[in-house]
Every structure is written in structure tokens, then in C-alpha cells.
């Protein structure tokens, strides 16, 4: 049965679009039929990160308003035939997203895909609440930094109140994806640790994505990081996260925690 996942955070710039692309591609690389949907109407970027910006003809708003059929708006990835993109509109504003329209599109996507990954816009307004509305699972993307953690807490509250599942008295499955993590800085006491963030937000951990040059490199190239370099540290972390999302039990390792002599000498300073 199809699973609808929302990738959300409250705060902007923490890695929602990067994570949507990487998780979507990782699931598609396992052979699962996956579609990534951009809900950031007016400020779309998932097309760019996926390298499909020159192939956008129709978008989510066109489908909702009946100007295009869903199959016409779906863009199939050139590298992976199991991966599809439904772009957001760049010219209209988010008022063109209607609750009924989104519901119809999601229902139709459920018929042909295993995974529907919705990339939420930042904030807690209409775009963000519509993106989370039909979710079965939420991936809360958080940086180990105070403002991001606070905003994630707020989003968790909304997931428990403003989703279809919550209104039915059911629960949206929530997972934490900690991005831009630097094990060395956390070890020195200069960055919140994984356990700190987990204790504060108290939702299960989906994965830890290390701060890495490979992420920027992949977006420069227009490729999800799991496709750009599938041996890189962030790609491996996203592969693990995708496996956990599918229900597999994968032991959590903190990327970059293996320290050499230099790291050991300086790592102790924090204690």
C-alpha cells in the first residue's frame, strides 16, 4: 500500500528539499515506485535539485485547476525509471493550492506509487499544512541548532493537530532526520549532540546526515546526493534512513565519529 511521507521542518534552509530528493532517490534505487512532490508553490526548487528544471511543462497547480492531467505533469527521472517528480508552480502563489485539489492529487498518486514524498515549504502557513495534511509518516528535518530545534517542536505539535490522521484520532508516524551534523563539533561541546536533540524532541531517529561538501556538490550537479556519489558519507546515511523508513531495523551509527589520534586528543576537551 502506498505511503505518503511529508518532509517538513518549520525552519527554512535546514535541508528539506535535499532530503526529499535523496530519500526519494534512495527508495527508487531500491526499486520502489516513488514520486517526489514539491509543495513550495512560488518558490519551487525540488526540480532544480533533481536536475529536471528544464523539463517542467505542467505543475501541481495546473493539475489541481484542471489545466493538465496528472500523467502530463509527472516528470520521469532520466537516471531512474522508478523515480518521478511532480513540480510546484513557480508563477502562481500558494492560494492556488486548495485542500480538495491536494486531496484528489494525493489519492490519484496513491494508485500508481509505493511512496509519495511531499516536500513541504518552510513556515507553518497554508502550504506547509497542506503538505502535511494527508501524510502517513512525517520526516522532521532538524539541524543541531537552537532555532531549528524550536521550530521542529512547533511542527511536531502541528502534526499532532492539523493532519487528517490526527483529526481522525489516529497518529502520524513522526521521525527525526538530523542534518548537517558535525560529530567533531558535538564532541567538543560546540554543537548539540544527537541525544540532546532526541531527548528534547522525543521522536524516534530516522538518520543522521553529516555536514558534507558532497551535498552542495550534488545540488550543483542537479542530482540527489544518493545518485551523485553513492559511496559518499551523506549518501550512505540517506540509504540507511530510507531503509528505516521502509521498516527495516538498521543500527544507527554517528557519521564521522571514528576519530584518529588528533581527534581523540582534541575531542576530550569538552568533558
Amino acid at each position: 500500500m502506498a505511503k505518503v511521507v511529508v518532509v517538513t521542518s518549520g525552519k527554512g534552509g535546514v535541508g528539506k528539499t535535499t532530503s526529499t530528493a535523496a530519500l526519494g532517490a534512495a527508495l527508487a534505487q531500491k526499486g520502489e515506485k516513488t514520486v517526489v512532490v514539491d509543495f513550495d508553490v512560488g518558490l519551487r526548487n525540488l526540480d532544480l535539485v533533481m536536475g529536471a528544471e528544464r523539463r517542467v511543462v505542467y505543475d501541481l497547480v495546473n493539475v489541481i485547476q484542471g489545466d493538465a492531467k496528472l500523467p502530463q505533469a509527472l516528470i520521469r527521472d532520466k537516471r531512474l525509471e522508478t523515480l518521478h517528480l511532480l513540480p510546484a508552480s513557480q508563477t502562481r502563489d500558494k492560494d492556488n493550492l486548495t485542500a480538495e485539489g491536494v486531496e484528489k492529487v494525493i489519492a490519484e498518486l496513491r494508485k500508481s506509487f509505493d511512496w509519495i514524498i511531499c516536500d513541504s515549504p518552510a513556515g507553518i502557513e497554508r502550504g506547509a499544512t497542506l503538505a502535511m495534511r494527508h501524510a502517513d509518516i512525517a520526516v522532521v528535518v532538524t539541524n543541531p541548532e537552537v532555532s531549528s530545534v524550536r521550530d521542529s517542536d512547533r511542527i511536531i505539535g502541528l502534526l499532532d493537530a492539523k493532519t487528517e490522521k490526527a483529526e481522525r484520532g489516529d497518529r502520524v508516524e513522526k521521525h527525526l532526520l538530523l542534518t548537517r551534523y558535525d560529530a567533531g563539533r558535538a564532541e567538543r561541546g560546540d554543537m548539540l549532540k544527537v541525544d540532546d536533540v532526541l531527548e528534547i524532541l522525543s521522536i524516534p531517529l530516522l538518520g543522521i546526515i553529516p555536514e558534507s561538501m558532497d551535498v552542495l556538490r550534488a545540488s550543483n550537479l542537479g542530482s540527489p546526493v544518493t545518485l551523485a556519489d553513492d559511496r559518499s558519507a551523506p549518501a550512505l546515511a540517506y540509504f540507511d534512513a530510507a531503509r528505516r523508513l521502509s521498516g527495516e531495523t538498521v543500527p544507527v551509527t554517528v557519521p564521522g565519529e571514528k576519530r584518529g589520534l588528533f581527534g581523540k586528543i582534541f575531542g576530550r576537551r569538552a568533558a
Binding site: 541548532e145 537552537v146 530545534v149 524550536r150 517542536d153 512547533r154 505539535g157 558535538a186 567538543r188 561541546g189 560546540d190 554543537m191 548539540l192 549532540k193 540532546d196 528534547i200 576537551r269 569538552a270
Partner: protein, 87 residues
């Protein structure tokens, strides 16, 4: 910064963690009536204005949320002539 300063620098993550814990404990309970301070300000002012003439611009309401105790500080300046009249 000297190399000595670098080594003696205090870790900042524990502070971040504690600030977040205190803040979120309050935010989780007060979501919904987040304008509590503004509401208190209006109601307190209404009561005081019944008895003393006050300048609405010279009123300060501050909330300080602590781990165990929160304080609400209301600072109202009462002009001299109003004070004399009331006395």
C-alpha cells in the same frame, strides 16, 4: 583569539540544551494562548486605571520564564499629579 583562549573556551552546547528545555516546556503548554502577556497587561491596566490615572505608554510588563519559577513583572509609572489626586 589566542591558542590559550581556544582551549579554555566553555562548551556552548549544554547551554543550548538547557535553554531549549526551559523554553519548550513553556511553549508546549502555552500554545493557543500565546498572547498571555498582552492579555494580562490589558486586564491589569483596566483595574489600575479605575483608581489611578496612568500613562499607557509608561507601562512595562515582563515575563521571565525559569526552570522552576516564572515571574511576571509589572512596572507602571504613576505621574505625580495623578498620585497626588488619588492620595
Amino acid at each position: 583569539m589566542s591558542i590559550f583562549g581556544f582551549f579554555s573556551r566553555q562548551a556552548s552546547a549544554p547551554t543550548a540544551r538547557e535553554r531549549l528545555q526551559v523554553l519548550l516546556a513553556h511553549e508546549r503548554t502555552t500554545t493557543g494562548h500565546s498572547d498571555l502577556v498582552a492579555q494580562l497587561r490589558e486586564e491589569i491596566l483596566a483595574v489600575i486605571a479605575k483608581h489611578v490615572q496612568i500613562d499607557r505608554d509608561k507601562v512595562n510588563v515582563k515575563m521571565d520564564r525559569g526552570k522552576k519559577v516564572s515571574t511576571l513583572e509589572v512596572d507602571i509609572e504613576i505621574p505625580l499629579e495623578a498620585d497626588a489626586r488619588a492620595a
